[in-house]
Every structure is written in C-alpha cells, then in structure tokens.
C-alpha cells in the first residue's frame, strides 16, 4: 500500500509523533492533497501556527473551520477540485462551548464561575486532549467532511490524546462520582466518612492539606455537572469508536534522529496496545546519502564515506582548479553530510524492519527552508505521494 492509497481510503487521518519533526506541516500537506484531489477537507491543528494561518490566507486560525479562499489557491497556481478548511484547537473556548452545549441553562453560570472548573479547563493536563477528541467527533459527525486531518500534540501528549476517552471514562466513573456530586457538607460525605474509615482519614488529611474550600469546590463542580455525565459517557464511546474505526488511519511523523526514533518506537508500541495501530510512517527531514553508481567511481563500492574524502577533494580540485580552500571546505562539508546520512539510513532501516510490511514508509528530504506556504506544501506531495496531484 502507498501513503496515497492510505489517505484515499480513510476519512480521518491522525498525524502523531514527537515535537519538532514537522507534524503540523505534514498534516497540512496531506490535507491539501485531499483538497486538490476533490475531497471536502478540514485540517485540525493544535499549534498556534500563525504562519500556517497566514500562508493559508487566513487572519488566524480559530475554533471554527475557516475555508481557504479560492484566490489564495489561484495565486499559487493551485486549483483544488475539493475544498480546504483549517481550524485550531482552542482549549478554554472549547470547554466553555461544551458546557454551553450540554449543561442545563440554570447551571451554566455556576459551572463557568467555579474555581475548580477554571483550573480544569485551563491547566488540567489532559483536558486539552479531551477537547481535541470532542472536536474530532463533532467534525466526524457533522457529515460536512470527506477528509479530516488531525495534528496531535507531541508524543507523550499524543498518548494522552489516544487514551483520553478511556481516561475520561475512568474519571467519570459513576460509583465514585456519587460521592462527589453531593454537597460537601451533606449527609453523603458524613456517611462516606463513617462507613469508610480510610476515606474519612484521607478526607481529613486532604482538608488539612488543601483547606476545606478545595474539596468543597470540587464537590460543587461535580454537583453542577452531574447532569452531563451520561451524555459524556455516550460521547466517549462514540469517540473511541471513531478512533478505532475502519475509517481512521494513524500516520506517524518522525525524523531519523536517534532520540526522535526512540520516541517513535515507543509511541508505535503503545498505539498497537491501544488498538489504534500505525497505518503509515512519514520519515521527515531525511538527509540524502550519495551512493556511487555500480561500476562507477573508484573501486566500485557504492558507499562514499569519510575514508574517501581525499578522493572527493581531488575530484573537486580537478573541476575547480586553483581554489584549494574552497575545495577543502566543499569536500569536508560533503563528508560531513555523508556521515549524517549514513547514520540516518542505518536507523531508518532498523526502524522499518520493525514495521509491518503493509505499513508504507515515505521519506521526505530535509529542505533547507521553512515549508509553510501552499506551494511548498504542494511540493511535498512528490515525496509523500510519489506525484503531484494534477490540479
């Protein structure tokens, strides 16, 4: 299978991987490919990627899908047969929207003003991921899109992202919530203390440690939110169904650096364990390795390494006579890039050996420029999909 067939055959494509490997760019490029090929496409990014927004002809990205104007495509010589929209995850805004959407009118103001809610929506690690899943569900269920491309947070958080539905489900376990939904000073809590001495002890300690107000706020929060939980539970099951569904494909974006590949292997094994296996790999920022043609230069070895630097310098010297300093600099630079590329080739080979044969791995070269406008996103298609889409 090729990456092109993979993207063509799925409605939801989720890009996962470490930070700083170009995930946002790859996700945008995949989305553009879908749009050029005739699909109604939306890309959900998590980065406040201002330059991406600017190059897409948008003032900024926000929590609503914004269509990329036709004239922006036209200006860069592209004629999409489908459409492309982009949006950004807005954590705080999305939580508020959730409350607005699901909470009974009389509880809304109370929830929004609750200090625990404010913490939860702003700083609770993982809440970002819950919101991302929520937005993915909304997009998938709207029926507006033929292709949804999602850019996820960096590796460790990507796992939070994938585990978010299950964790939220644990979090909202009704047996435990029963205690929390009661007003803190009510009989329910006294009963808990009386029946369960450990819990009673723990609660006293927590009160001493954090002050009564923290527990009371948490209790009040769950009290206000209690009407939403059934709704959440159902949404979580739907989210899990989407993430594990046949329409969804996870694509790992990585670079051939040692540490990054270590992270990639970790992520790959965790994803398999979560029943959300990798379907494709984009090896980004690969340095090209020069290999001599068979029967060519020197002794016929294909490899050109540091041991050949004198030969290489001599060849440059013949081509550029009388420029010894530049010749030496060129030869040294070439040898350096060869060393880098050889290490990468070896690591990519080892990494690929651990992949299923059905998982396509594509290599994208290390462009010596920032890739961010539509034209350069389109230029990536030759490497991702083997061909540009005829626009």
């Amino acid at each position: 299978m090729t990456l092109g067939e993979l993207v063509a055959g799925h409605r939801v494509v989720i890009a996962a991987g470490s930070g700083g490997v170009g995930k946002t760019t790859v996700a945008a490029s995949i989305a553009l490919w879908g749009a050029l090929g005739g699909r109604r496409t939306v890309v959900l990014t998590i980065d406040p990627a201002r330059r991406l927004a600017a190059s897409l002809g948008l003032e900024s990205l926000d929590a609503e899908p914004r269509d990329i104007p036709a004239e922006v495509f036209a200006a860069q010589g592209l004629r999409p047969r489908g459409g492309l929209a982009a949006m950004m995850l807005d954590q705080k805004g999305a939580w508020d929207a959730l409350v607005e959407r699901h909470a009974p009118a009389e509880a809304r103001a109370r929830i929004l003003a609750n200090p625990f809610y404010q913490h939860l929506s702003q700083t609770f690690a993982g809440s970002y991921e819950y919101v991302a899943i929520e937005q993915l569900c909304a997009l998938a269920e709207s029926g507006r899109w033929d292709l949804i491309v999602v850019d996820t947070p960096p590796t460790r958080h990507a796992l939070d992202f994938l585990e978010a539905p299950r964790r939220l489900d644990d979090f909202l376990d009704r047996k435990v919530i029963r205690w929390f939904v009661r007003p803190y000073f009510s009989a329910g809590w006294s009963a808990l203390r009386a029946v369960n001495r450990t819990a009673g002890f723990l609660l006293r300690r927590l009160e001493q440690a954090t002050g009564v107000s923290a527990l009371a706020e948490i209790s009040d929060f769950f009290g206000s939110m209690s009407g939403l939980f059934d709704n959440f539970h159902e949404r979580i099951e739907r989210a899990t169904a989407i993430l594990r569904g046949a329409e969804t494909a996870f694509v790992l974006v990585t670079s051939p650096e040692e540490q990054v590949l270590g992270d990639a292997e970790y992520l790959s094994s965790k994803m398999a364990a979560l029943h959300m296996p990798l379907r494709g790999v984009v090896m980004n920022r690969v340095h090209a390795e020069f290999r001599a043609a068979a029967g060519g230069r020197g002794g016929g070895r294909a490899e050109v390494g540091p041991e050949d630097v004198a030969d290489v310098a001599a060849a440059i010297g013949r081509a550029l006579p009388g420029r010894p300093e530049e010749t030496a600099a060129l030869a040294e630079n070439f040898a350096d890039y060869q060393a880098l590329a050889r290490g990468e080739s070896l690591r990519i080979e080892q990494f690929a050996a651990g992949l299923s044969r059905r998982v396509p791995l594509v290599r994208v070269p290390n462009f010596a420029r920032d890739v961010h406008d539509l034209a350069s996103l389109a230029a990536m298609h030759a490497h991702l999909f083997g061909a540009r889409v005829a626009a």
């Binding site: 723990l202 440690a209 270590g262 060129l330 420029r369």
Partner: protein
C-alpha cells in the same frame, strides 16, 4: 550574586525537538566536571536523558553515571506518594490509601497536583541535606516542551494563591520563593535559529521574565550551521559536474547539492540568530554548532559540552554582564 553555574537548580526548557535533552546532559556534565555533586533529572520518565548520559534508564532512585553525576526520573504521582510517606508515617494506612479509589480519583482530578508534586520533588532534592551536608550541589532538569514546562513552573505560585490556608499552601509558597530566587534557580532556554523556535523562545522569555518573574540563565542556540558557499562557486561546480566524466559527474553534483543545503541552513540560522540577539536584553546567549555525526554518542556529547563550557565560562559571563 553567585554566577549562573553556582545556582542549585537549572531548568532546561525549549520547544520540542530543539535539543533540550542534549543541552541538559551537557550542562550536567560541565557541573559534575567542575566538582559539583550533580543530579540530572528527567521529567515524564522518557528515558532519553538517562540514555544520553549512558544509563539504561532512570527511575526514582538516582543512578550514578559518572564521577559526581547521577540521573533520576521525577514523576508527579510517584512524588506524591513519596511525599505522603513523609507526612503519614503509618505504612499500612498508606497502602490502603494508595489503593483506595477516592485517592486515585483525587490525584487524577485535582488540577495541577501532579505538576506541583513534580516541581516540589525537584525542590526537595535541591535543598535536601544528609548529615548536615547538601545531598546535591546542583540539580539539572530536562524539562518538557515550553508550554508544558511553563505550566509546571507556574504551578507553585498558582497553588500558593488558590489553595486555602494549609500545608499545601505553605509548601507551595516556599517552592515558589525558591524558584524566583536568582541565587538559587536558573531557567535556561534552548532554541534553534529558525523562525518558529525563535518566536517561541522569545515568547517564553517574555513570560519568564514578565508575569512569572523567574530568573533566566542562558539562552542556548543549538545546531548552528555555519559554512557559507557563494552561489558563483556552486554554479561553477555544477557546470564542471555536467562536463566531467560520468563516474565523477554525479559525485560533483552531489557535492554541490550538499553545499547548497549547508548554505541554505547557514543563511536561515544567521538571520534568526541575529533576530534573537537583537530582541534579547540579556547578553547571555550561548551558541552550539550542528554536529555532523553518524551517531550521537558519548564522544559527541563530550565535544558539545566542551563548546558549551567555553561559551558559558564564568569569567566571560561576568565580563559580559559588566559591559
């Protein structure tokens, strides 16, 4: 005021993929080399820092990886359990608590608790004494990506301001004061000289020195490409490649391609390094070269730490601050 290298805690932060772990490892090596008992700490137990320093992995227990250098992993939930063991001495009770759902629930739900405990554990290690002597002279933290790292560094202040009077608030206030103390703490920002990372570094710098009021150490610009090749030279080489015998033509073309690649990165790096230097009020910018190696091994790390040490040597720092 003591020099930056004399501070007790060094947080190394920066955008994902800029080389924080490498810089944290290099800094830890430098400190250990200079005779300080150093604890290198990785957050999120990724195993990366331990691997770079030559250990198979890191757990809560420090592992020795060299003379005067240990590495350990700090994780919020484990730190909380360790902390509770300090304040609740009854072991049987503790086991019951850790197993109870109310406890699990509280840990999962309490906002920022894990972050607070992580930073608290780092503070605890930095100030811990054994038989009247400090357990560590320096703690170097390989922090998560910028946004997440700032969330951790913000947490003690937030806990101090939001929790009711109690143990947590008192402890949070002590940790917050320690983090803000320029004699005790240094936050080092790592970046590469490209547009997005520099923008993010400048934003983090503004946040650190502004609202958070945390003491900055160095801004380390990593992976700088420096070789410049004139366009005319590369054109000449390409022309020669086209005319050369076939077995050498392809090689010469590749030589020209790599030179153009290096020139491209060097130009991008030069531009954004200049922007960074122009925007920063502090002269404490340290530059590290891009290392061309097949494998980033101990030798490569040693090379990098030598360059870093030369860049941040105390004599030079004092001269810069005065000028």
């Amino acid at each position: 005021m003591p020099g930056v290298l004399d501070r007790r805690v060094h947080f190394v932060i920066g955008k994902g993929g800029v080389g924080k772990t490498t810089v944290a490892a290099a800094l830890a090596l430098i400190l250990a080399r200079r005779g300080r008992r150093t604890l290198a700490v990785e957050m999120e137990a990724s195993g990366r820092l331990a691997a770079v320093l030559g250990a198979g992995g890191a757990g809560a227990q420090p592992v020795e990886v060299g003379p005067g250098l240990h590495v350990a992993a700090v994780e919020g939930r484990a730190a909380l359990e360790e902390y509770l063991q300090l304040v609740i001495p009854v072991k049987r009770l503790l086991h019951t608590i850790f197993a109870s759902r109310v406890y699990q629930y509280f840990v999962a739900a309490a906002p920022g608790l894990k972050e607070l405990m992580t930073v608290g554990k780092i503070w605890y290690e930095a100030t811990r004494e054994e038989a009247g002597l400090r357990a560590w002279d320096a703690v170097v933290v390989d922090a998560p990506a910028t946004g997440h790292a700032l969330q951790h560094l913000r947490m003690p202040q937030a806990a101090r301001d939001t929790f009711g009077a109690g143990l947590v608030q008192r402890e949070a206030a002590r940790i917050a004061a320690f983090l803000r103390d320029p004699r005790a703490t240094a936050i080092h920002l790592v970046t590469v000289a490209e547009e997005m990372p520099v923008t993010e570094a400048l934003e983090a710098h503004a946040e650190l020195t502004g609202p958070l009021g945390l003491p900055l150490g160095w801004v380390v610009v990593n992976r700088l490409h420096r070789r410049r090749f004139a366009a005319a030279l590369l054109d000449a080489l390409r022309t020669a490649a086209a005319q050369a015998p076939a077995e050498w033509g392809a090689l010469l073309a590749a030589v020209a391609d790599r030179a153009r690649e290096e020139e491209g990165w060097a130009a991008i790096n030069a531009q954004h390094l200049a922007a960074l230097r122009a925007a920063l009020p502090v002269a404490a910018v340290a530059e590290l070269p891009f290392l061309f190696v097949e494998e980033f091994d101990r030798a490569a790390l040693a090379r990098l730490s030598d360059v870093l040490e030369a860049a941040i040597a105390p004599a030079r720092m004092r001269a810069r601050v005065r000028s």
